[in-house]
């Protein structure tokens, strides 16, 4: 926990210095390329840009701690409220993908490892190595082409909110619809979610079955498994408690890693599926030199990665009694 906070602090520092290093004149960026010099000066004064670097750092951390990400220079809205709109949409996509990744990844990895050297093993490996080697844009374009154009069974864009009025409780559309028992909205939400979530999941999940498989291979010929069989334990028991459970430890780590990759994947997938999430938001910020928004986005993504690792740290002790909470991270 302390380690995570430390990483967060460091990330905030690095973001601060990198954005300083990269922008010799942030006031000019803020005011726009054709702004008059007075305007630029006024902006610089208003945002303490003429102050010493340490003072700026103080204002930066003060704002971060109070959750004040500033104002979006492009539309004047508070960045925090924009983030709070986009982030839940991305979370919806990422969590749905995560469910697919965990289920499919563990199942395929287990099967592949237990059938080591057979055709099943080879087929599964070719499958996950190929999906992993596929660029996000190729996978997303192909799934749009196949399932939204040639065989139009899924919508190709949006997250299904169009045409529904609902109170935002969590900001996650599907969850909101479920909480308010709005079945039509729920159906629309899930219907729109399936294609992008499956695409994102399949393109990111390769590492999970791969590690699952190699952990299974590490375990299944080890002495403790032999000992379990020698004690006369039934095969299902051996596989469940001695092989599967052991292999899940490393797999938990990579599932947490995959979480970070899903965030990166959302940039492309949200773009192609017109999903109003934070990936698209941050890409727009990058191409329009919108640094205040970009800093906020990087921060949100990093917090996501750190939270994922933290959850993994909580799960370890459940899988492996040798590990106690607090040593993991």
């Amino acid at each position: 926990m302390v380690g995570s906070l430390f990483v967060l602090l460091g990330v905030a520092l690095i973001v601060f210095f990198i954005s300083h290093l990269l922008n010799p004149n942030p006031a000019l960026l803020w005011a726009g390329p054709r702004a008059r010099p007075e305007t630029v000066k006024a902006v610089a004064a208003a945002y303490h840009l003429n102050d010493p670097l340490l003072n700026q750092l103080y204002y930066y951390f003060q704002s971060l701690l109070t959750g004040n990400f500033g104002v979006d220079p492009q539309n004047g809205r508070p960045i925090l409220s924009e983030i709070l709109f986009y982030a839940p949409n991305t979370l919806e996509l990422v969590l749905a993908s995560m469910v697919i990744i965990i289920a499919l990844g563990i199942a395929l990895g287990y099967l592949s490892g237990m059938r080591f050297g057979t055709k099943v093993d080879a087929a599964i490996r070719v499958f996950y190595l190929t999906t992993w080697s596929t660029p996000y844009y190729l996978g997303a374009l192909v799934s749009v082409l196949l399932f939204a154009s040639y065989v139009p069974i899924f919508p190709s864009s949006g997250n299904g909110t169009v045409g529904f009025t609902y109170n935002s409780i969590t900001g996650i559309f599907v969850l909101d619809a479920l909480l308010q028992a709005n079945w039509a909205a729920l159906e629309s939400g899930i219907y729109h979610l399936i294609l992008p979530a499956t695409t994102l999941a399949l393109l990111s999940f390769g590492i999970v079955p791969r590690i699952m498989r190699s952990s299974i291979l590490d375990t299944r010929w080890s002495t403790h498994v032999k000992a379990a069989r020698a004690r006369g334990l039934e095969e299902g028991n051996v596989r469940r408690k001695h092989i599967l459970r052991n292999a899940l430890i490393d797999t938990t780590t990579v599932i947490a890693t995959t979480f970070g990759w899903l965030f990166s994947g959302t940039i492309i997938v949200e773009q192609i599926f017109a999903w109003p999430g934070i990936g698209q938001f941050s890409y727009m910020a990058i191409v329009s030199d919108n640094y205040p928004v970009l800093v906020a986005c990087i921060f949100v993504f990093t917090v996501g990665v750190i939270v994922a690792n933290f959850i993994a740290d909580i799960i370890y002790p459940l899988l492996d009694p040798r590990i106690t909470l607090g040593e993991g991270g």
Binding site: I18, W221, S264
Partner: protein, 358 residues
Amino acid sequence: MSTEATRLRRLLMSNALSVFGLVTTAVFVILAVLEVISFGKITPFNPYTPNFGQANLGPSLAHFFGTDFEGRDIFSQVIAALPTDMGISIAVVVTSALMGIVLGTLAGYFRGLFDEVIMRLTDMFLAFPQIIMSLAIAATLGPSLLNVTISLIVVWWPPYVRLVRGAVLAVAAEDYVSVSKALNSSFLYIVRKDALPNVLPSVLVYATTDIGSALLTLSTLGYLNVGIPAAMPELGRMVSGVTYQLYLYPTQVLIPAVVVMLMVAGFSFLGEGLRESLDVKLRPHILMRGRGIGKAEGGQGKVPSPMTSPAGTRLLLGSGRGGFRRGAVVEEAGDQATGTEVDGGGDLRAPVEGRLAD
């Protein structure tokens, strides 16, 4: 050729995946090199000259991949883009691996404050969203090949530091290193003779797969039109340039993307094959399969003991003294060689090592 190299070749060739990886990688590397040394003369057409009479053609014998909206030959464009994509990815991975070897060795060997600082820094950079970070850096530095390379290296080096540091830590705990220290060997001598021969195989395996990952990220930058100069042919950008034609002419859009996929698949299949071939624990099971001695199940069937030599992987890249530990008993198939497991190195995207050990 040393016996170990022969053995490795046999292990690699016994696996269809790695053969595919090797062949694909070789073909793309050779094409890229030919394109560079012939100054672009190997392409059948000029990839840049528009020919509007031939616009939007499908694949044919004259134009293998068809032509784009300006009538330019897509096959020629793909070939012209290979050096950019291949060159930057390899440069990024090689630089990151070198940084990882230097920093990781220093951190793992000297421990203390330096180790602490380096590892905290690594943790922070690992927590960054990779693509967004390099997008941001590349966008701000402005389009140039050097800037793209830099923006990728900034987010690419941390896994290598972790990988190398972990391996160096493991080696440093070995008795033969203590003995060497007691005999007053210098730091550089120990690194050269003990640490590197043990570390390099895992770095090599991880880096092979990693070139594919770098290629994916690079072409994503290209697809998002960030960082790569306008005149430079790049596969990701070829895709985004014609994405609006997706429904009309899908082959135009998909072919360059499929080429990226093939290149990445080549590297990752090769890396995967290498990793498995270098994994001493799996060797008996792989070799048994090849010879039809028993099934891969359980541990029956006799395997010639030299095949499971724990010194194996070390001999591959120079013979470190660590490779000749006395008393390393090679048991029969089904058991790992005693205590000298060589970690096959990373997974697809980031090494998992160190998490539980830390």
